[in-house]
């Protein structure tokens, strides 16, 4: 079993606030998690949840208040480890007086590539992100989506082992999103570790081996997407056929919702047999019984609601 590529241990980040920076606001609290080698890990959470803070801490852009982290077994303070890491910042902005090719060439110099290697690698990356015809245009003329592609190109320019992407789908049209998804899948198939933050849950469900949900600076759960939502599954769905003119089935039809010619009703797990008995007595014909698996989105919203409720409770008790 491959070891962890990213290990985070009790990472906490407080930001100073106020005019004299005397107060602090906790942005991340005691975050501990691991991302296995070769894993695609989705970091989910609403805006301001602490996703970008975590990623910036990993990249050494900001420093933790407490806690530590390692990437590929080396502490995040070791800048030389960046040779094996690719990073796409959120809403990336680059030197707008450079062309995409010049920017990539500039960044490639930090990885000790010679002129021939840089030229070859830059052309390959521009092609990979669909910018081969725009490589000689200054970045100040690029759209947001094009900048995002340049950002992705510079993140994988040096063929890193670990790729960290902060909201990689942001600002992209559906075609661009699909292309980024394909790149992530390609990286995954090459055995690279990919950590990306997103609030687009379908992308996470589609791409990730594992997801971590962070809300209010606290990690709420980590696991496989199906596993994480499965934890909250306590309901069953019963699908049945019933004659709309049969008075016996009126009560069960009233409890169900109609879709096409069939009816479906949700019941708590413990009441399944009672509900089936009720259907039999009503003369309904059973079509299917299946557990209701909440979507990642439902789970996510549930956590967000819970966090908001807790925050308002604290506020009220504080008053």
């Amino acid at each position: 079993m491959p070891g962890p590529a990213i290990e985070i241990e009790s990472l906490t980040k407080d930001y100073p606030t106020g005019f004299l920076h005397l107060k602090t606001k906790r942005s991340l609290e005691n975050l501990s998690m691991q991302v296995g080698e070769g894993e695609a890990f989705g970091f989910l959470g609403p805006n301001g949840a602490g996703k970008s803070t975590t990623i910036k801490l990993l990249m050494g852009i900001i420093f933790p208040t407490s806690g530590s982290a390692k990437i590929l077994g080396r502490p995040i303070t070791d800048v030389e480890m960046h040779k094996d890491i690719g990073y796409l910042p959120e809403q990336p902005y680059f030197y707008d007086y450079l062309t995409a090719a010049e920017l990539l060439d500039y960044f490639a110099r930090f990885f000790g590539m010679n002129a021939a290697e840089r030229k070859e690698r830059v052309a390959k990356m521009l092609k990979k992100v669909g910018l081969e015809t725009a490589g000689k245009i200054q970045l100040r003329k690029y759209s947001k989506g094009m900048l995002q592609r340049v950002g992705l190109a510079q993140a994988i320019l040096h063929d890193p082992k670990v790729v960290i992407l902060d909201e990689p789908m942001s600002g992209l049209d559906p075609i661009g999103r699909r292309e980024v998804r394909d790149i992530i899948l390609e990286l995954k198939s090459e055995g690279k570790t990919v950590l990306f933050s997103t609030h687009i849950l379908t992308d996470a469900e589609m791409l990730c081996d594992k997801v971590g949900v962070i809300v209010g600076g606290k990690l709420q759960g980590v696991g496989r997407p199906d596993e994480i939502v499965g934890m909250k599954s306590h309901e069953m769905e019963i699908v049945f056929d019933a004659d709309a003119n049969d008075a016996r089935s009126a009560a069960v039809r009233a409890k169900a919702s109609k879709f096409g010619s069939r009816y479906a009703m949700r019941v708590p797990e413990g009441n399944v047999f009672a509900a089936l008995e009720e259907l039999r007595a009503a003369g309904a014909k059973l079509a299917a019984v299946s557990p209701i698996k909440p979507t990642l989105e439902e789970y996510f919203l549930h956590l967000v609601e819970k966090d908001r409720a807790q925050a308002s409770a604290i506020e009220v008790s504080g008053k």
């Binding site: 990249m59 852009i61 420093f63 030389e80 902005y93 007086y97 450079l98």
Partner: protein, 258 residues
């Protein structure tokens, strides 16, 4: 070293593409106008006027670039978040700072060299052949460049921990104070009191001494500059820049970006 050179080259490229060197056009026009005019209004002292004017313009334009571009070297990268992608590369923060410093000093060197060439042409226009004493003007240009390097280092240090406006004020303040070092050391204790005298004497050794770099009068009159002063100023500027950049590296190394 390759990484520092890469950052320096990109800083130079930014300055060129942001049209920083366009000031040379202004300088050229100023010298052309001065060359034509001095011949008519200052008989016998054309070279003095021309050299004084040329060196003053070189210094003032260089200072404006050093201060205004210098304070933006780091803060602009933080504000625009261009630094995020750069710091994710195998690049130490001190290497970034030294590269930025080197890039702006390179820009100023190119700028100052072009101005020196322009000044040479203007001197040739009003006086030929040249005399040995005219070389002092170019030593003065070198001293201006050394002075500008110190100003860039100071601007860079301030831009690591304060706003651009405050960084401009601090850098300009230190520059002005650095022009009055001998006055600080020669304060009359009977008038300001012994405590103030000791204070200003101590401060004068911490502040950059820009008076040593001013050889404009010697240059204008074609007087030679001692070789020891050239060596002293070179070492002084190198050491002062190294100390200021080290302080900037300590500050920037601990700075959490936005």
């Amino acid at each position: 070293m390759t990484r520092i050179a890469a950052v320096a080259w990109n800083t130079f490229r930014e300055a060129v593409r942001d049209r920083v060197l366009y000031n040379l056009v202004f300088f050229a026009l100023l010298l052309i106008a001065a060359s034509i005019l001095v011949g008519q209004i200052s008989i016998g002292i054309e070279t003095i006027v021309l050299v004084s004017l040329g060196l003053s313009a070189t210094s003032v334009i260089g200072l404006l670039i050093a201060v205004f571009t210098g304070v933006g070297l780091v803060s602009k990268e933080i504000e625009k978040r261009t630094l995020y992608a750069l710091l994710s590369k195998p690049l130490q923060r001190w290497e970034f700072l030294v590269g930025k410093f080197g890039g702006l000093v390179l820009t100023l060197a190119v700028n100052t060299a072009a101005m020196a060439a322009g000044l040479l042409l203007a001197i040739l226009y009003v006086k030929h052949p040249l005399e040995r004493g005219d070389a002092t003007a170019f030593i003065a240009v070198y001293f201006i460049l050394l002075k500008l390097a110190i100003v860039v280092a100071l601007a860079l240090l301030f831009s690591c921990f304060t706003s651009q406006l405050l960084a401009i004020l601090f850098t300009a303040g230190l520059y002005i104070a650095g022009l009055f070092i001998s006055e600080m050391r020669n304060l009359d204790a009977t008038r300001v009191g012994p405590a103030a005298r000791h204070f200003f004497t101590a401060i004068s050794y911490l502040l950059p001494n820009f008076q040593n770099f001013d050889v404009m009068a010697a240059a204008a009159h074609g007087r030679p500059v001692p070789g020891l002063l050239i060596l002293h100023n070179t070492l002084y500027a190198t050491l002062y820049c190294a100390i200021v950049l080290s302080a900037a590296s300590v500050v920037f190394g601990r700075k959490s970006l936005k």
